[in-house]
Amino acid sequence: MTAAQWLTSFFADRGREVTSGQLHGMAQRGGDVSASVAIDCGPSPRIAEGRADVVLGLEPVETARSLPFISSSTTVLMNTRTVVPFVVAQSFVRKRNGGRYPEVSELEAALRAVTPHLVALDFTRLAEESGSPRTLNMVMLGALFGIGLLPDSPGEFLEAVRSRIPPRLSSSNEIAFLSGVRAVESFQPVGGQP
């Protein structure tokens, strides 16, 4: 399941009104994909400008692309491991603009100019260390719950994972999730709940 699907089912199971929207189908062909999860916000499947409380950025350029949704009170969790789109190499060999993937530090700086609540980490490395880069979703969900923005604790989410996945499969997900929780231990969230 994607991070958005996990969050949707977790909060819906707790009786919250969850509206989540996805533009999907292109991820397998390398296209960009985003999803929104709105909890007790109303029926709109799209988030308005500057109104994201949290951005889970699984890739640096994609995180920067979500700037229209970010304001000074948004918390951004950005994975610093890049996935370079194929067009960059194409532009490079043809000596055109766009032949360079931006420096992650530049992207970080641009985001920090808008919001001080930014955690930029190589979350993919944590996923790899827990056994598979495919658990990146779980690592970042761990960071989300670990940050303390949500009223629900990491332990409650882990319970939900265990109830949905059989134990022999859930352990790598749990390890990944907990590594995400640990990674943000020292981070101070925006005051109070969104």
Partner: protein, 618 residues
Amino acid sequence: MNARGVPHPVLEDAPGTSASFLGNLAIVRGALEAGVQFVSGYPGTPASEIGDTFARIASDADVLFEYSVNEKVAVEIAFGAALTGARSLCSMKHLGLNYAGDPIATMPYVGVEGGMVIVSAGDPSLVTSPNEQDQRHLTRFLFYPIFDPATPEDARKMTRAAFELSEATRLPVILRPTTRVCHTSGRVELGPLPRTRNPIRFEKAPERYVPLPENARRMRRELTERYSLAERWLGRSEFFPRTGRGKRGVIASGVATAYVQQVVSELHVEREISLLQIGAYPIPETALADFLLSVDSVLVVEELTPFVEDWVSLQAFRSGRQIPIYGKETGHFPLEFEYGPDLVEDALRRYLGLASRPRAAVRVPELPQLPPRPPVLCAGCPHRTSFYLARKVFGKKTVYCNDIGCYTLGYGEPLDSADVLLCMGSSISQASGIARTTGSRTVAYIGDSTFFHSGLPALVNAVQAGDPITVLILNNYVTAMTGFQPSPTGTKRPVIEDTVRGLGVQEIYSVDPFDETAALEALRKARGGDGVNVVVFNSPCVVNEARLGIGAARAPYVIDEALCNACSLCVRELGCPAIFVEDGKYFIDPDLCDGCDLCARLCSRDAILPMPDHERRT
């Protein structure tokens, strides 16, 4: 049941509870609650999950299901089932309805016995389509009742109700969700699942089912009656809810309704507004008349064309109700593309005379240029190899007509294998048109599923005319782009070659694109041939094989830094997403590389080799 024996959530028999469902799943649920008995369809974003879900649950739910070869056949089969009394559903994207245009036009005349619902999912903002179109016009054009859901819960209730309406009027009914309903998850109430279903029988009555002119004229008169009956049925229904008592009227339809509700709540203007949701067409005159009398003005909020806006304006004019009506025609909303909460808020503020939406004082950051991330053929995709080899033989000047599928991604640098594109199956006919007037051999690319969907008539035509075209059929044994639905080639019998031969093409080559010698030889012969010739490239979709856990595991390749001279040919010619350039050095990401060998064969320095000691991947 899934692998763990857990039934699919859409089958949950727990009336009165609620669940979070994707809009498309809510449609499946609504159909199940109506006792649907037969389902057909063709995949297409944003509708694909409807067919895919029915494919998974069909035997558990005791529903007859098929992925049809195209939407015309899907609709006709569903209609046949409906004539026997079965409740039938047919699903497709908006373009699919166009393809089924001929049966769609006549079905309302003949009428159904069991209720029939056609789901035709729209794509405002053309996320995955070459056009956007407003299906709602079909209500006036062809006498279809049409439901227009705003949320997944709407989609469920409307699908269920559509079957009742269909049987009450004997009209096939359209459900028209859009991407932001189909691919939105929201709370859905679970209704009861029925214990009984319609009995099946075909009762002979040719005068009832054969629209020869003498019957069709009678049917036409009856159609007017049945359509009026639909309007009265809708007038008694729950699908035109009205909230608020304010004097500033707002009329909304589709997902725009959700944006209006959210914005009204956030602006705290509930008391100033009366909101009427239009959930279906034809819009009952009574629902609209009462509303127009109770407000001083109307803002219409709808995506695509000003369909409701014009309907409301006309009814207001005819009834002598002279109030201002705002919407697209007055510049409050754009004529193209989807809406969102910001657009709706701006229009509502303007309508209510409120101050402009405050924009957060954001320091516009020094943002480096962000590279776009368009979709691209997967690493290892056989189409990349086919395009590359064909271009080597046919060259830059040949016109390449492309079609709809993963291979559409042959468009643009560096493969440059799509000069024209129109719709499903059009590559062959377009190639005929261009070859006919220029006299030059023209190439058409078409996939296996698309070929059987709508390529056959064009090929018959080309053979009859003797057009100098080369049809390159890219067979990856599956309907990949929409989610790996089955294709007629799935059995692995040479059904394409047999069909092409049967249609009279004499020069046919059948090759593996990864057998470069054989592939190049076939392409050269085709280029030098007369009239219509066909090269079938047979090689399975690598992603489909990976997800099924079949197919050969191949070692990823690595670029030897010592041998590489940075000539850039591998990047320049192939556009493979596994090859990167960093700090002027070329390298391959072993997690992305599929080991197809194409770049290695192209490399003039033999600098690209399979990684040694590679762990076998499953």
